[in-house]
Amino acid sequence: MTTPTTVIRPKKIFSFSDIKEIWQYRELLYFFTWRDLKVRYKQTAIGVLWSLFQPFITMVVFSVFFGGLAQIPSNGAPYPIFVFVGLLFWQFFSGALSETSGSLIVNQAIITKVYFPRLLLPISSVITKLVDFAIASLILVGMMIYYGYAPHLIGIVLIPILLLITFMTSIGLGLFLAAINVKYRDVRYVLPFFIQMLLFVTPVIYPASIAGKYSWILAINPMTGVIQSARAALLGTAPINWLLIGLSFLAGLVLLIVGTYVFKKVERYFADII
């Protein structure tokens, strides 16, 4: 007979059983994601089209002002496609970050009434944003055809790695903020501002080369590596810098570990303080 035995003790130390638990609850993870997507588009007139509309308009506005009027260099690629590659990853990152950090507060009614691994909520937020990313990528495919870029084989291999880095970075930072947000609600006021600042220190609207000999400072930000490499792989603006990818991966991993650690440390008490 296989009766699952649960022992409830004052404190649980992080262990690999947590990962096993998330796997056991994968259906709930699916339902959370499904709910978020479904609810988001239920009351909107054009529904899923928003996922296309938003990045597209941003790209157009940026191209007109930054590419056209301000003449920001784009390493030889047409500015619209140059900025769109950046935007695609940036919007995945910033969207995932803000959704993750608010995920516990939004679901507090559930947290105080039912047990499930709390990590499911932030994870499902990121997956929701990944779906948006996938939809918005269609625009990129269209633009690549329009501008006549053929993807390299290496580019197609590299994209999942870059997505993984973005995933680790946003969820790592997001878990950290989500845990703080439970106690200090200032986070939701600071975050939009913080994300806006981050946009300017990440080479989304400009190439990293613009910073000259200080561009290494930008490299601390894992999103720099992601966006630079995505451009290199898809548009061939520069040779792929494997060292940069490695560094970004490492930085993302560190953020993920720190974020998970902080989250797990306060997780058990969410229901008491939320």
């Binding site: 709910r35 039912v114 499930f116």
Partner: protein, 426 residues
């Protein structure tokens, strides 16, 4: 291996009451405090670190021990704030205990609220899946039971309507129906039956009974509804002030509860009661029940005159209290509100009162049947609740000549309201 399905050993739960104003702390405040007085902050932190700091501690649960065997239905009763809900939250892993250990052998389903995770934008069909998944059902299980859930709730026609368009009754029915179809080994149920109409409550109780009898499921059931507890549970635990004060046969437990716990009569000094709500500038100091001749009593007959005297005292010196309203309400032991007597209803002008005194509420022709009843008292000044004590006193009603016919009502055993009426032969 023992044959207990749940073993609770020395469970205690402590809460630190650090921020009185409640809600959440703003990081801004913490930071400004540090900036303003860095030394005070450091001192507090060091004190905290070496454990000198006097924190206001509150033990919501203290040394709870009990075992539950497979197939048992255990009821838990106790006053508000006795720790019932905290215990259920620990059992369902929502919050960890501070001390102790619980071993659970089996899948736990907890139902602390009806319709957890229901989303108003989603349709009934979608909500069944979402709610089911949140309650721990697999997708396969939900698909299997889908038709049964819909039928039980009786919402076939509205399956594809968003839940926000449901009447509250439909909402509750659907939510409960999903919950009733969970199949965990152990089901933990909080006061969820309090919602919904009586008919549906009965249906749910029936369903729960059926399930336990047939499939040997273990249920832990918290309720104020003594009738439901009596009907469902063989054993019942009584909780008071975070402690388990009685565990045994349900009938004995209910007796213990009504005699010792329901109204905290051992702490005779009302002034010592801590479970008050309101601003507490004016406090209720004493509640007395008197009969027609002004004698203090604890038992009264149906149809007699009952006078409830509320003594109060203001904390703000001798100042006259303007615009006061006094309210006492009567409920049955099972927690059902029966009626309210309020000066707001009887006096057009609000009362101006001395800072310290007594006020009497006279009920003519007491319209209550044989049984035990519980009083709550409330004082408002300028519409603000100053003091509100629930379950402030208990009294017993014996059969009496309510109808003036010398015939005592024998239709209903247990607490009920009597109404004067007449029959006319046309």
């Amino acid at each position: 291996m023992s044959n207990s399905i749940i073993e609770v050993k020395n469970i205690s739960k402590k809460y630190n009451i650090t921020h009185e104003r409640g809600g959440y702390i703003a990081l801004r405040d913490v930071l400004t405090n540090i900036a303003k007085s860095p030394f005070a902050f450091l001192k507090a932190k060091t004190k905290q670190a070496i454990g000198l700091e006097k924190k206001e501690e509150f033990w919501a649960l203290k040394n709870i021990n009990f075992d539950v065997k497979k197939g048992e239905i255990i009821g838990i009763i106790g006053r508000n704030g006795a720790g019932k809900s905290t215990l259920l939250k620990i059992l369902s892993q929502i919050t960890p205990p501070t001390e102790g250990e619980i071993t659970i052998r089996g899948r736990v389903g907890s139902l602390l609220e009806v319709g957890t995770g229901f989303h108003p934008e989603l349709t009934g069909r979608e909500n069944i899946f979402l709610n089911g998944a949140i309650l721990g059902m697999t997708k396969k299980e939900i698909v299997q039971k889908f038709d049964a859930i819909v039928k039980f709730a009786g919402i076939e026609k509205f399956l594809d309507t968003p839940a926000k368009r449901y009447s509250s009754g439909m909402y509750v029915r659907l939510a409960f129906s999903v919950a009733a179809h969970m199949e965990p080994d152990i089901l933990i149920v909080d006061e969820v039956l309090a919602v919904g109409d009586v008919e549906f409550q009965k249906k749910c109780l029936g369903k729960m009974e059926e399930v336990t009898k047939q499939e040997g499921r273990t249920i832990i059931f918290v309720s104020h509804n003594m009738a439901a507890i009596e009907r469902l549970c063989q054993k019942t635990a009584v909780m008071d002030n975070g402690q388990l004060v009685f565990l045994g046969k349900t009938s004995e437990a209910i007796q213990h509860y009504t005699q010792n716990v329901a109204v905290n009569t051992n702490a005779t000094n009302l002034i010592d009661r801590k479970d008050r709500k309101g601003n507490r500038n004016v406090l209720i100091t004493e509640i007395d029940l008197e009969n027609e001749s002004g004698e203090k009593i604890s038992t009264v007959r149906s149809g007699e005159t009952l006078t409830i005297t509320v003594a109060y005292k203001s904390k703000k010196g001798k100042e006259i209290l303007k615009n006061c309203q006094f309210t006492v309400s009567v409920k049955s032991l099972s927690g059902k509100q029966l009626f309210v007597c309020s000066s707001e209803l009887t006096n057009k002008q609000p009362l101006d009162m001395n800072s310290d005194g007594k006020i009497k509420c006279k009920i003519n022709n007491l319209p209550l049947g044989k049984g035990k009843y519980v009083l709550s008292a409330l004082i408002r000044v300028n519409k603000d609740i100053e003091d509100w004590i629930e379950d402030v006193a208990i009294f017993e009603v014996e059969n009496g000549d309510f109808y003036g016919t010398d015939v005592y009502s024998s239709y209903w055993e247990g607490e009920s309201v009597l109404v004067k009426h007449s029959w006319e032969n046309n």
